[in-house]
Symmetry: D2
Subunit: 249 residues, 4 copies
C-alpha cells in the first residue's frame, strides 16, 4: 500500500469541518494539520485527533517544515491565500482552493504560485456540478439551436444569485440576468438544473446537494487527480473534462 497523500487544511467552518471529516475517513489521504481562524474561539470536535492551529498564532513556514504536506486545501476566507500561496509554491506544495469570494488580486496570487507548483481553483468543487457543466457544454455544441435556461434553488436566507449558477451560465454562454432563475424558499441545501429545450423533447441535467460533505468528496477527487501533476493552473472543470475524454477513448 502506498503512503497516503498528506494534506494541510485551511478553514474549519461549516464546509471546512465536513471536508475534514471526509479526509479523516479516506485512508488514501492523511490530514496532517488544520489552520483555522483565531477570531472565533468555539471549539470544533473532529472524529480523530488532528493538530489545529489558529491562523494568527502560527508561522506557516515552520508548520510546513515540521509537518510536511503534499497539498494545502483551502475552504477558509479569501485572504488566506495571501499567506500561504508563496510559501507553498517555494516548497513545491500543491494548492487546492475552493474559496468562492476571490477578487482579482487573490486570483493573481494563486496564478503566480502556479508558476512553481500545481494549483487548482474551483469555487464549486463537487464532482456533480462539474459533471453537469461539462455535459452541458457538450450539448451546447451538439445542439447549438436548443434553448437553455438554468433554475437554481437554495434556502431562503441565501440572498445573492448562486455563484455556481453564474459560473454555469458563463461556461454555457448564457446571459445570467435572463437565463438564470433563482428560487429561494425554506431550507433547500442547493439544487441546480440546466434545461435544454428542443422543439419535441427536453433534456434536464440536475444536481441536488444533500450536504456540504460533497465538497470534501470533490476535494478528495481533486487531490488524487492532481497528485503527481506538473506545476500549472488547473480547474475542476478541466479535470472533469479530462475524465470525459478518458472515458470516451
Amino acid at each position: 500500500m502506498e503512503a497516503p497523500i498528506r494534506i494541510g487544511l485551511f478553514g474549519l467552518g461549516k464546509a471546512g469541518k465536513e471536508v475534514a471529516e471526509q479526509m479523516l475517513s479516506d485512508p488514501a489521504v492523511e490530514l496532517a494539520w488544520v489552520v483555522r481562524s483565531g477570531r472565533s474561539a468555539s471549539p470544533v470536535l473532529l472524529t480523530k485527533e488532528v493538530p489545529i492551529c489558529f491562523s494568527g498564532e502560527v508561522r506557516l513556514n515552520d508548520l510546513i517544515e515540521q509537518n510536511h504536506v503534499d497539498f494545502v486545501v483551502d475552504f477558509s476566507t479569501a485572504d488566506s491565500c495571501l499567506d500561504y500561496a508563496e510559501i507553498a509554491a517555494q516548497k513545491g506544495v500543491g494548492i487546492i482552493s475552493a474559496v468562492s469570494a476571490y477578487k482579482k488580486h487573490h486570483l493573481a496570487c494563486l496564478k503566480k504560485a502556479s508558476k512553481k507548483t500545481a494549483v487548482l481553483y474551483s469555487p464549486n468543487i463537487t464532482l456533480g456540478i462539474n459533471f453537469i457543466i461539462i455535459a452541458g457544454k457538450i450539448l451546447r455544441k451538439l445542439a447549438p439551436h436548443a434553448g437553455v435556461e438554468v433554475v437554481e434553488e437554495h434556502f431562503h436566507d441565501k440572498k445573492e444569485v448562486s455563484g455556481t449558477a453564474i459560473r454555469i451560465a458563463e461556461l454555457l454562454d448564457l446571459d445570467p440576468a435572463k437565463q438564470v432563475n433563482s428560487v429561494r424558499v425554506g431550507g433547500i441545501v442547493g439544487r441546480h438544473e440546466i434545461i435544454f429545450g428542443f422543439p419535441y423533447q427536453t433534456i434536464r441535467l440536475i444536481h441536488d446537494s444533500i450536504s456540504r460533505a460533497a465538497f470534501g468528496q470533490g476535494a478528495l477527487y481533486a487531490i488524487k487527480n492532481l497528485y503527481g501533476r506538473p506545476k500549472g493552473f488547473y480547474t475542476m472543470e478541466q479535470l472533469v473534462a479530462e475524465g470525459f475524454s478518458a472515458a470516451l477513448s
Copy 2:
C-alpha cells in the same frame, strides 16, 4: 340513460378543435354546433359531422332557437362574449368561457349575464391547474410561514408570463414580479410548479400539460358540474374547492 347535455361551441382554433374532439367522444354531451371565426378560411376536419357556422354570417338568436343548447362554451377570442352573452342569458342558456384575454368590459358583460343564467369563467379550465391552486391555497393557510415560489415553463415563442402562473400568484398571495419564475425553451407544452419551502422539507405541486385536449376535459368537468345549478357567476376554482369539501366530508 339520460339525454346528453347539448353544447354550442365558440372557437375552432388549436384549443377549440381539441375541445370539440373531447366533446364528440363523450356520450354525456352532444356538440350541437360550432361557431368559428369567418376570417380564416382554412378547413377544420372533425371526427364526426357537426354544423360549423362562421361568426360573421350567423344570427345567434336563430341558431339557438333552431338548435337549442344547454350551454355555450367559449374558446374563441375576447369579443365573442359581447355577441352571445345577452342572448344566452335571455334564453337561460348557461355560459362557460375559457378565454384568457378579457378586459374589464368583457368581464362586466359576463357578470351581467350571470344575473339571469349560470356563467362560469376560468382562463385556465383544466382540472389539474385548479387542483394545485386549491391545494396550494390550503397549504398557505396550514403553513403560513413556509416560503413559496412558482416556476412555469413554456415553449420558446410564448413571450409573456403565463396568465395561469399570475393567477396562481394572486390566489396564493404572492408577488408575481418576485415569486414567479418563467422558463422559455424549446417546445414545452406547459408546466407549472408551486414550491413550498420549509426549513427541513420541501413540497412541490406540479402540473404538466401534455396537450390542449386537457382544456376539453376541463370544460366537460365544468359542464357536468354546472348543469342544473342556479344562475350566478362561478369559477373553476370554486367548483374544484367544492369538490375538495365534498371529498373531505
Copy 3:
C-alpha cells in the same frame, strides 16, 4: 404569554435528537425530560440542559409525578409504549407516538390508553407527507379514473420499501406491490412522489425531506393541535384533514 406545553420525550437516537432540538428552540413548549435507552452509553449533547434518564433505571411513575408533563412524545422503539402508555393514561398525560415498527399488540396498548387520554399515532409525522396524502385522497375522489403511482427514493442502505409509501398506497387504495416504485441510491434523505396521470395532463405531488428535524416540526404541530382535545385516538392525517376543512370554510 401562556405557560409552555410540557413534554417528556422517549428516544434520543438520530430522529429523537433532532426532535429534542426542535422542542428546545420553540418557546411554546418546554422539554421537561428525556428517557433514552440505557443500552447505549454514548453521550448526546443537547443545546440546552435537560434531565436525561436511562430507560432501565427510571421509574416512570415517579418521573411524571416529580416532573409533570402534558404529553409524552415517543421517537424510541416499539416496546417503550408498553411501559408508559398505562401510566400516562391514568395521569391524563397525552401520548404522541411516531414509532414506525409497531406490531398489533403495541397498537392495542395505545388504543387502550386512548380510552382515558388523547393519543396520536403516526409513523410519519411530518406535515408535508400528511399534506400530500390528504391532497392525494381528495384527487382520487375528484378524478377516480386517473392512474396513480408512487415513486419513493431513499439512501442505498434502506433495504425495505418505505413504510410511508406503503401507508400512502393504503390510503389511496393502491396496490403497494404494483404501484409503489422504490429507488435506492446514494444518500437521498427521502423523497415521495405521487403521480396522477390523466390523458392530457399529469399532476405530481412531491415531498422532499431535507433532514430528520422535520419530524420535530411535525411533532410540534401535533402537540399544539392536540393540546386541550378530549381523550381518543387520533392520527396526523386526521389533524391535517381537519386543517383542510378549516381552510376551505
Copy 4:
C-alpha cells in the same frame, strides 16, 4: 447551396408520419418517396405532395432506379428490412433503421448489408436519449461507486417495459429487472430519468419526450452525420459519442 440529401422512407404510421413531416420542412434533405403498408387503407395527408407506394405493390429495385435516393430510412415494421436491405446494399444506398422490434435474423440482415453500405440502427434515434446514455456511461466511469437507477414513465396502455430503458440499463451495466422502474399512468408521452446517487449529492439526467416528431429530428441528425461515411455498421450512440469527443477537443 448543395443539393439536398435524397431520402426514401419506409413506414407512415404515427411515428413515420411525424418523421416525414420533419423531412419535408428541412431544406437539407428531400423526401423522394414513401413506402407504406398496403394493409391499412386509411389515407395520410402530408403537407407537401410526395409519391406514396404500398409495400405489396411496389418493386423496390425499380423504385430506386427510377427515383434514386441516398438513404432509406425505416420507421415501419421488423420485416421490411428483409425486402430492402440487399437491394440498398447493392446500389450503395445508406440504411437508417429505427425499428425497435427486431429479432436476430433482422439484425443479421442489416449487418450483412453493412458489408457494402453504411447502415445505422438505433431503436431510439432521438438525440436526447442518446445524449443521456453517453453522459451516463461517462459518469459510470468517473464515479464507479455511485448507485444508479432508471425511472421510465409512459402512458397507461404501454404494457411492456420501455425498450429504451432496457437499452440504457444494458449500456450502463445495470440489471433491468432491479434497476429499472416503470410508471404507467395517463397519457405521458415518454420520460426517462437516470438517477446517480452519491453519499452527499444526486445527479439526474432526464429526457422528456414532447412528441414523436423528435424521432424525425433524430433521423435528420443521423442522415446528415452519416452522409459520406464509408460502409459499416453504425449506431446513434456511436455518432453521439463521436460528437462528445469532437466537442471536447
